[in-house]
């Protein structure tokens, strides 16, 4: 009973931190999306006009479509490649640890730096054709896909490795004894058992690619003509390069939050269903 009395005291520091760093800025952000403001301290209520402007803005819808395409492609490619690598590197090959380390390393480099590095590489290759990455939005698109793959595969691989190592070897042996070939073992034994890893990996890749910003800014900055600008970059541009449009940027950010929340919850529920206990 006495413990309950102290409950508010123990929870206070965390609660305060959560309020200050998360809840208050979030509510303030939602509030600002209904106002016109230059800095957050002088806001004037304007109702939903910001949301109307946001949706009647072509750039925003283009960015949304571009982001969706990008997310679908990268989530699939990152997870397949990461899983394949994890599978290889749990087979007990020579030098496994070195390979794991090397594959993981790109993840330790910041997004802006990676963006510039890949811009140099891609422009270096395209130089032979006399163009640069801004020539065609498709170049920017695939450049971003390669970049994000390069960055995230190592991380996802580590999660998959952990999942694979958790599978009891007797299950696989039993499958072998029962005459299952490799493909059947993978599909019917391994995959269902690593479903928790799949859940977490798809969640991470999905949110990461949807919210991509630094890499986008450094690699293409939206060129040509904002055709490779993703949602986060479009919000940033709206916020900073139009006088009086800060509120619209904020409204876009709120919409962005809702989309990310809905998508990731749906994904979590869907993949959770397929997880099995052993």
């Amino acid at each position: 009973m006495s413990l309950k009395k102290y409950f508010p005291i123990f929870v206070l520091p965390t609660l305060a931190a959560f309020l200050i760093a998360f809840v208050i800025p979030f509510l303030l952000g939602v509030f600002l999306s209904f106002t016109e403001f230059t800095t957050i301290l002088d806001a004037q209520w304007t109702g939903i006009s910001n949301y109307i402007k946001a949706f009647s803005n072509d750039d925003f819808l283009n960015a949304l479509w571009f982001t969706v395409k990008f997310t679908v492609v990268s989530v699939i490619s990152i997870n397949i490649i990461a899983f394949a690598l994890a599978n290889l590197l749990t087979k007990g090959l020579k030098g496994t640890n070195i390979f794991r380390t090397i594959f993981f390393m790109p993840n330790l480099i910041g997004g802006i730096v990676l963006g510039y590095i890949w811009q140099l590489i891609i422009n270096g290759v395209l130089k032979f054709f006399g163009v640069t990455i801004t020539y065609d939005p498709a170049y920017g698109f695939w450049g971003l896909v390669i970049l994000l793959n390069w960055q995230l595969i190592g991380y996802m691989m580590v999660i998959y490795i952990a999942g694979l190592q958790n599978i009891p070897s007797d299950l696989q042996e039993a499958a072998k004894v029962d005459g299952a070939n490799r493909w059947q073992t993978l599909k019917n034994v391994t995959l269902p058992l690593v479903m928790p890893s799949v859940t977490i990996c798809t969640f991470l890749t999905l949110t990461n690619s949807f919210k991509l910003f630094d890499q986008n800014l450094a690699l293409t900055a939206g060129a040509p003509s904002q055709q490779t600008a993703m949602l986060a970059l479009d919000i940033y541009n709206t916020f900073y390069s139009k006088v009086g449009w800060e509120g619209v940027g904020q409204a876009k950010a709120v919409i962005f939050f809702l989309i990310v929340a809905v998508i990731s919850f749906t994904q979590l529920i869907l993949t959770r269903k397929r997880e099995v206990e052993h």
């Binding site: 520091p13 230059t38 800095t39 163009v131 640069t132 801004t134 020539y135 900055a221 003509s225 139009k242």
Partner: protein
Amino acid sequence: MKRIIAVMLCAVMMLLFASCGSNSNSQTNDTNKNANEIYFLNFKPEVSEVYNEIASVYEKETGVKVKVVTAASDTYETTLKSEIAKSEAPTIFQINGPVGYQGWKNYCLDLKDTKLYSYLIDKDLAVTDGDGVFGIPYVIEGYGIIYNGNIMDKYFNLPEKATDVSSVEEINNFEKLKAVVEDMTKNKSKLGIDGVFASTSMSGGESWRWDSHLASVPFYYEMKEKNSEVSTNSTAYNAKETEFKYHSNYKNLLDLYVNNSVSEKGLLSGKSVNDSMSEFALGKAAMVQNGNWAWAEISKVGGNKVDADNIGYLPLYMDIEGEENQGICIGTENYLAINSKASKEKQQASIDFLEWLFSSETGKKYVTEKLEFITPFNTFDDDETPEDPLAREVLDWMGRDVETIEWTFNSFPSQEFKNSFSDAILEYIQGTKNWDYVREAVVNSWKKERA
């Protein structure tokens, strides 16, 4: 054991919170009592070190600390927006003219009664609103096509020269400029250059020389035709629409830049202003479009081959009628403003600092010798002008009997307008869109951004 750890963690957390709290408390106290620290948000990255030097000299002289923060190229608005929301906000910042003022009018202090304003020779230059004065220009700058005189002389002495132009002074319209440039390209190996013009930098944030500076010329003429009574800036500021009447003239000069460039067309989107300034400094290019601020960059390049005594400007000729009498583009986009939301003491301290900088002997010395500014203030004598060759050339052009082009781009609707302009130019240069697309983009974006 666990309990001890938990207690310690709690203690650490409490400490953290406590220290945060006390820190911010002491800071606010400082702000209220005295103003021994002011904050200057600098716009010009090329002279950031000089400002730090000035700050330390000023602190030694008066005890007032000047915090100087420099925004990276093309990020001034971004930096200002986030800095001004802080409790330690900039006390001195810059607005880029009437359009910039609209965004910051709640933060600009009326400077009508300051000495700084009284120093201004031409009071019309200030940014005003009603009776108030909210932005004071502090530097006059000029831009045009900067040429490397040695390379030009080499060309004029070439035996296989195909034009009858024999000095830079004879180039007084687009036709002659084009003839010379194209002939120079033909002879580029003999002249030892890779191209006549330094790269037309088009990478992100590096295209202001085309979407603002070069674009100023066609809009200057268009706005002058609309109304020749008032400044083209105020006509442009009030224009709801534009027809971009001189678009083909703009294209003339842009094409000339791109077709006679050091770099291939397709690679221009990877080039920055720094790239093209170093191409010019190293003698790989004979000309580059830029202004007198560029001297800092040119002279800093290691192995720079530009002869300070043989450098000059050509006006931006683009085949507009009467351009024989056209001068270079002279104006300013740098207006000082004082944060009206800072404490009274800080506002006064900031004004004192600026007045010191532009009227005391020490301050003036830094302005002319290190910052190399041509100032619009009457506190500077005629001999107190900067040494740098490009600034001297600007002064020279100011004295000539020519039509000076205003910086009409100060009244372009927004940064977004400039962005869509340069996006369109990029697509045109790399060949993915035609010129009509650029014209439409400019016309539509102007209308949209002004609405």
